[in-house]
């Protein structure tokens, strides 16, 4: 007998945004009285934790220097801080909606600041490689339907993307893969044996830091070059293993190379990603082959897309000259912090104080920081202005992009008393724009705005 005070709502086809799999088949059971999700059907262990743990916490919506203030006061302080800084940076954005990301870019544009996303410490190197080499890729449904050779390189999906195997790439059954795993060969390349190993038919274990050499050797073998057997001494992988892999790659019907942080975060960085992308491109001479970076956060792909469409560049963008400039290593956040360039920071849905290099964290402690986050983190603790916001996909709707660029609309479960990121950022943007215009007019411009004519030639 149902308790008449019970108030359960079921949300079907909701989306989990914990990792880049962005599974949109969640069935959420929501207790509207207690404002929490009691069950998340279809979610993996990470998703279940994501849904269960994002409840409404009893905490102030806005704080300045650790003291509770009204949201309006906090917005004013945030806007003033940003407008008065000489090198304000914006960072984070991978765990929020595209609607919010767009406001963040607008703010950075108006204050002539710097904008970067967690991409720079995730698959930024793959983005750099993309700019050099390009990429043959596909959406995940193509992998499900067609891939008969699946290679994971430098990642551990069993722990980072638990449903990847089942929903998309290994056991998933598709149009030309009706038998699921039986229709596929799975290869795992990693420097250690992880929980993903059981899924693989072939395990390849290079020495750490030698992925580039292995990928380059594969390129040579695919093109028919002869390689000496001392490749094993160099990389830890026997020539026989590499030759066998090269043959399988050339003879498969539709191959896919998924790759992760093992390539981007190690010696070589974008050279590693570039070697893999180049190998994939080479293989298209023999068969149909695609590659896909496995993105970590729910909407980091959205961040790449939004920053790219609004500025032309995916991350590491600076507006100080009045137009976007791109320079990884200079305008990326580990650098703007470690080099001491940033003198104010707006950090949205990210925790660099936990995950950044020590030198960067030290600098962060010395500048005014404005954070938007759903929970207390090391970064919110050191903030000058801290906003507690609603959680995307749980309290708010919005658009997110899956790791393969497929855009999905979120279905929220329950309301939050906290405003969402988009609302806060829009308010900050409006106030920032007002302040910037006031400065502009005060600077001697006549009654009507004197703006540079856009010269189309």
């Amino acid at each position: 007998m149902a308790n008449e005070n019970e108030n359960i709502k079921i949300v079907e086809n909701a989306t989990c945004t914990f990792c880049g799999c962005v599974c949109d088949d969640m069935e959420l059971h929501v207790d509207l009285n207690e404002k929490r999700i009691t069950k998340a059907k279809n979610a993996c262990v990470l998703g279940r934790a994501w849904f269960a743990e994002h409840t409404i916490e009893d905490a102030p919506a806005a704080m300045i220097d650790g003291e509770e203030v009204s949201v309006d006061e906090a917005i004013e302080e945030a806007a003033q801080t940003l407008v008065n800084a000489k090198f304000p940076i914006t960072y984070g954005l991978s765990d929020t909606t595209c609607e919010a990301q767009r406001q963040a870019v607008a703010i950075s544009d108006y204050i002539k600041g710097n904008i970067d996303t967690t991409t720079s410490v995730c698959h930024g190197p793959s983005g750099l490689a993309f700019q050099g080499v390009g990429e043959s890729t596909s959406t995940l449904g193509e992998v499900k339907n067609r891939a008969d050779l699946v290679i994971y390189w430098g990642g551990n999906p069993a722990e980072s993307h638990p449903r990847h195997f089942g929903r998309y790439a290994v056991t998933a059954k598709g149009m030309f893969t009706p038998n699921g795993k039986k229709d596929r060969t799975v290869v795992l390349v990693d420097v250690r044996k992880t929980k993903s190993a059981p899924v693989a038919d072939i395990l390849i274990r290079p020495f750490p830091g030698k992925d580039f050499e292995v990928l380059w050797a594969l390129r040579a073998l695919v093109k028919g070059s002869k390689l000496s057997s001392n490749i094993e001494e160099e990389t830890g992988v026997p020539l026989e293993t590499l030759s066998d892999l090269a043959e399988r790659m050339k003879n498969c019907r539709f191959g896919v190379l998924f790759f992760g942080m093992g390539l981007t975060m190690t010696r070589g960085r974008h050279f590693n990603s570039g070697a893999l992308l180049a190998l994939t491109t080479d293989l298209n001479k023999y068969t149909h082959f695609v590659a896909m970076p496995v993105r970590g956060h729910g909407n980091v792909t959205g961040a790449d897309n939004v920053v790219s469409w609004q500025t032309g560049y995916p991350f590491g963008v600076n507006f100080s000259r009045g137009y976007p400039r791109f320079n990884p290593g200079e305008f990326t956040t580990v650098d703007t912090l470690s080099n001491g360039d940033a003198d104010a920071a707006l950090i949205i849905a990210s925790d660099p104080a936990s995950n950044f290099p020590k030198k960067a964290i030290e600098h962060l402690k010395n500048i005014p920081v404005i954070t938007l986050d759903t929970k207390n983190t090391h970064t919110t603790k050191l903030s000058h202005v801290a906003f507690r916001t609603a959680t995307y996909g749980i309290n708010t709707t919005g658009t997110v992009y899956r790791m393969d660029d497929v855009p999905i609309t979120l279905r929220p479960a329950f309301d939050s008393p906290f405003p969402d990121d988009e609302t806060i950022l829009t308010s900050i943007k409006k106030r920032v724009h007002e302040l910037v215009l006031a400065k502009h007019y005060a600077g001697g411009a006549s009654g009507e705005a004197k703006v540079a004519a856009i010269n189309p030639l």
């Binding site: 934790a49 743990e53 930024g124 929980k195 975060m265 990326t332 290099p357």
Partner: protein, 114 residues
Amino acid sequence: MADKMMLIPGRTSKQGTSLNQGKFKDEYKEVTSTLEMNKDDMDKRGLVDGDKVRMWNEIGETIVSCIGKKTEDLSAGLLFIPYGPPSSQLMASDTAGTGMPLSKHMMVEIEKVK
């Protein structure tokens, strides 16, 4: 024992679930300060599961507890830790002009904490 070992920080399920609970809660702190080490390397240093070790390099240091792994899973000379504030202490900030600091494969030294 001052030979250097290679540290690989990475994602694990437990690290992912516990960070949802909150980074100041015990489980996340415990998970991100648990170091996987090759069993033979542990034996050489007189370490058993649960022992505390100091891990350091030219950037910083951190104290973590260790747990053994077979060579089949984790080769000698390699260390694995779920990433978080402890592993960040050892990360250099030089991004070689790419924006990406070397977040894996840092060389560190280990000693048992009495």
